[in-house]
Amino acid sequence: MVEWDMNVVEIDNVTKTFGQFTAVNALSLAVPRGSIYGFIGPNGSGKTTTLRMIMRIYHPDPGPGRIRVLGGTKQTAADDRVGYLPEERGLYKKMKVRDILRFYAELKGCRDFKDRVNSWLERMGLSEWADKKVEALSKGMAQKVQFISAVIAGPELVILDEPFTGLDPVNADVLRDAVLDLRKSGSTVIFSTHDMSVAERMCDLIFMIYKGNKVLDGTLESIQDRYGTDTLRVKVEGNGFDPRTIPGVEKVTDFGKLQELRISKSTDSQDVLAALMEFGRVTHFELARPSLHDIFVRIARPEATDAVAPSQEIVHA
């Protein structure tokens, strides 16, 4: 049971198909307790399907795969210890904000909801709107109310499907701070996002899914280390400089002042430096750590479609 104390969610070799379409393929992941776990991936890559499987709204295909959440393998989505903010979310238009939050708190079996509702509304700057009907709220305000409804009962695990989409920078900050505070108070947070900078800044662990396959899983550092060793930014003074002729250089991107070289995995950057020096004076040589954005684009851009081999690309923490 020690293992389950460490990991709030464990997915082992799970596949989910819809008819002929494989949404998630032989997926495994583990979400450690107390972490913020970020899901990234292009649209339609299987993020929401995976989150819905964690929620048990979808059940995986029959087979050896298993999903354990908070140590259990219940078959129902409803779990009072889990707070869920789906990507497709809405509120009853005719209900007052306070009544909705109270409704969700009661559904989760939370009894001391009065103080919680007040403190959350205050925190989100919605106190004045507590007794207004939902139909009077702006989209951003409604989104904050939805967020509160997911966390009002103080869940052990919070699952947020694209919680920051559509928020202005101020509100996005408010929500981001709230998520960080949730972790401080002991909750584990899983969220999906399209905003790579948010994932970089907030997540302890980052998981990327592409076409149903896991392609990244680990800390930002480990992922960058994995991809970071193959990118060099160089500046060479001299005529007739053509880095493509250097053995081991797979791709060259010319940024004008600088050239970015991607080298093959077996190539030593020191060999490339030696080769560069033969062209002329090397005024800049940098072993670059690619941003998460770069890594994402590299995996998900069209030409990479066939190149992705999960077994090779996966970087473990």
């Binding site: 929620m55 709204i57 129902t76 989505a77 409803a78 779990d79 009072d80 889990v82 707070g83 869920y84 903010l85 789906p86 497709e88 979310r89 809405g90 509120l91 009853y92 238009k93 005719k94 209900m95 409704f103 969700y104 009661e106 559904l107 989760k108 079996g109 939805q146 409804s149 997911a150």
Partner: protein
């Protein structure tokens, strides 16, 4: 269970607090009551302009009777109230004699028809031809006929009225002809009515009581009223249920909810909320009806012994039909699509209306028993059978409840499966075949 109740309370409040609920609660008695009030108010709003009628009497013995009757009527029967408030509420009938002339009867009819056709308000609007052999009919029935001609076939007041004085006089003349005393004949042929009574009982003191006069109107209208109320409540509940499921679907509330409450409990919560709403409506109307009946002095006709059964059957009917409406809401993507699926359920709900009159007339027949044990019809038909005296053995409604419960469980189970899959579906509605697959494969 707790979650189910939280959902039920929300659904109940959402439904009861809405303006639509108040409007529909008030609208029905207003429409029904209003139509009665309007009919009462318009009852005497008839045209009081004089109506002139020509009488062509080939017997020469009957015109006087009509003229006398018209005079009596015009003096006495067409007014309402007395003294200064006396008001004419019906038109005067002015009869005029047309002498049989040399022309043949067909020509006479044509001439009179031409006068009517002119539509001159000062001239006749109808005429009566009294055949020459009316008093003593011969071989030709045409010569023994009385014909009323007019150009306003739907106005039958004159035709109805004129028959009485004519027949009275004809009868008198025939009796005279046969040398019979009219008084003796009337006494000898008087019909004796058959009274419709309930059974005789013995009171607490041991005395045999008199049987109560059976009120046929109450015996028919009380069961009918209960059935209509039950049907109305089921129908009133249909649209909010479908809409609430559709709202959760289209506004994407469903997935948020499913993270907190299992689909079956969510659906049951909705149904219980709807049962609460229906019982609120029933309470309002039954209390209103009880008060109205007591005020009108017909307190003994209030079916107090059936009320509890009614409430139980009403709740079951709401759950049984409500689960189907929820399944419809979950399977479709907009209200328009929902309508086509609601219709068959509605037809099922109103089907007891087709047989109710047979059931009221013979509530204890084996036909009535069999019909009332078909679960979709049980709530309404069993209530009818109980409401008609003397009622039915208790095992029958109990068996009915059991069968309805089993059907309800099956409906709720099937609806639950459709709901579970359908509630997360977006875009297109489900086909019947698809829904069946969800039900059987889960």
């Amino acid at each position: 269970m707790r979650k189910m109740i939280v959902v039920a309370v929300r659904e109940y409040l959402a439904a009861v607090k809405s303006k639509a609920f108040l409007v529909s609660l008030i609208a029905m008695p207003v429409i029904w009551g209003g139509s009665i009030v309007v009919q009462m108010a318009l009852r005497n709003k008839v045209d009081t302009k004089d109506k002139r009628i020509a009488i062509l009497d080939y017997t020469n013995q009957l015109y006087d009777a009509v003229a006398t009757a018209a005079q009596t009527r015009n003096e006495k029967d067409i007014f309402e109230g007395d003294g200064p408030t006396r008001k004419q509420i019906k038109p005067r009938f002015l009869v005029q004699r047309v002498e049989p002339t040399g022309v043949d009867q067909a020509q006479a009819r044509f001439d009179l028809s031409e006068r009517v056709r002119k539509a001159d308000s000062e001239d006749i609007m109808a005429f009566v031809i009294i055949g020459p052999e009316v008093i003593k009919p011969g071989v030709d029935p045409a010569r023994a006929a009385i014909d009323y001609h007019s150009n306003s076939p739907t106005y039958d007041d004159i035709q109805d009225w004129v028959a009485a004085p004519l027949n009275e006089r004809i009868q008198k003349l025939r009796l005279q002809e046969a040398n019979l005393d009219a008084g003796i004949v009337e006494a000898a042929t008087r019909r004796t009515p058959v009274a419709n009574l309930g059974l005789v009982t013995r009171d607490a003191a041991g005395n045999i009581t008199k049987a109560e006069q059976t009120n046929e109107i109450a015996n028919v209208f009380v069961p009918l009223g209960l059935m209509m109320l039950m049907l109305m409540v089921v129908m009133v509940g249909a649209s909010p249920l479908v809409q609430s499921v559709l709202e959760e679907k289209t506004l994407r509330i469903a997935e948020v909810l499913l993270g907190s409450v299992p689909p079956f409990q969510l659906m049951m919560g909705k149904l219980l909320g709807m049962v609460g709403v229906s019982l609120t409506i029933v309470t309002v109307y039954l209390v209103g009806a009880f008060y109205a009946i007591h005020q009108a002095g017909y307190g003994s006709f209030f079916p107090a012994h059936v009320v509890w059964w009614f409430v139980v059957f009403q709740a079951l009917a709401v759950i049984m039909y409500g689960s189907l409406f929820i399944a419809v809401g979950a399977a479709v993507s907009d209200m328009k699509e929902a309508q086509s699926l609601i219709t068959p359920v509605m037809v099922l709900a109103v089907s007891p209306m087709f047989v109710w009159i047979n059931i009221v007339r013979e509530p204890t027949s084996s036909f009535a028993l069999a019909m009332s044990l078909i679960p979709p019809a049980t709530p309404m038909l069993m209530t009818i059978r109980q409401a008609v005296p003397p009622g039915i053995p208790t095992w029958q409604p109990l068996l009915g409840i059991l069968l309805v419960l089993l059907t309800t469980i099956a409906c709720v189970f099937a609806a639950g499966r459709i709901f579970r899959v359908g509630i997360l579906m977006q875009g297109k509605g489900a086909k019947i075949g698809e829904m069946m697959r969800w039900v059987f494969r889960g």
